[in-house]
């Protein structure tokens, strides 16, 4: 399972815009690189990323090989109620990686 790093603040004021950062360790092979034998390395990418919070979606990305290795995203969610912020990545073979953090809204 690939490593993930997410950054969600522990607490937030109600109604605030909270910056969320998420990164997953992945080579994001673009299909143009060659191995030591000179044959192309096939495309291997994460194809989808979704962040959900409080029963709704915050941010969704359809990734292409044009994104860098270890795809990183930062975005803003609106703090409404205390609860988990869930992260979900799917690679091109359908393997799903999940991560979650708790956000306390005061």
């Amino acid at each position: 399972m690939p490593n993930t790093r997410i950054r969600v603040p522990k607490t937030a004021l109600k109604g605030d815009a909270v910056e969320i950062r998420a990164i997953i360790q992945h080579p994001m092979e673009n299909g143009f690189r060659l191995n030591s034998q000179g044959t192309p390395i096939p495309v291997e990418i994460i194809s989808e990323f979704v962040c959900t919070y409080d029963g709704g979606e915050v941010f969704r990305v359809t990734l292409e090989p044009g994104l860098s290795a270890n795809p990183y995203f930062s975005f803003y969610l609106k703090a409404t109620t205390s609860g988990p912020v869930d992260f979900w990545w799917k690679d091109q073979d359908g393997t799903i990686t999940e991560a979650s953090a708790h956000l306390e809204v005061v």
Partner: protein
Amino acid sequence: MKRSEPANLLTRRSVLAGLGAGFMLVSMPVRADDASVAEAIEAAFGDAPRTDGRIAMTLPPLAESGNTVPLTVSIESPMTEADSVKRVMIFANRNPRPLIATMAFGPKAAKAEFSTNIRLSGTQDVIAIAEMTDGTIYQAQVRVMVTVGACDTLKIRF
């Protein structure tokens, strides 16, 4: 007496030509031209009119490596249920594949802003196109100079 053509098709010349063609195919991914970029944009947004404005794109004017170019896109929008950003697509007009990513903001997003890292194969324009919930489409374009592209395989390490 007439010289007969060699029956074997695998002549030295054809082998060399084949090797050369194969090498060109493998080593140089075809860069997109304006027509294929326009085609990719049309496939996503149709031929709807696109206006400049409302999108602020932050990119370094000069990127040393095309492998990770930091990109921040911020779109002016109140992000209410009635008026928000439906989706944003990022294109690079000289990458082998013009489309870089598609982003969508959900109802829990506070503002229409995100940051990520993209790959660029060389000096080119990065285009962000945003579709609002009312169907209007906005566009922004920023030029980035790239010293070493993401597709170049360097023979030396540094």
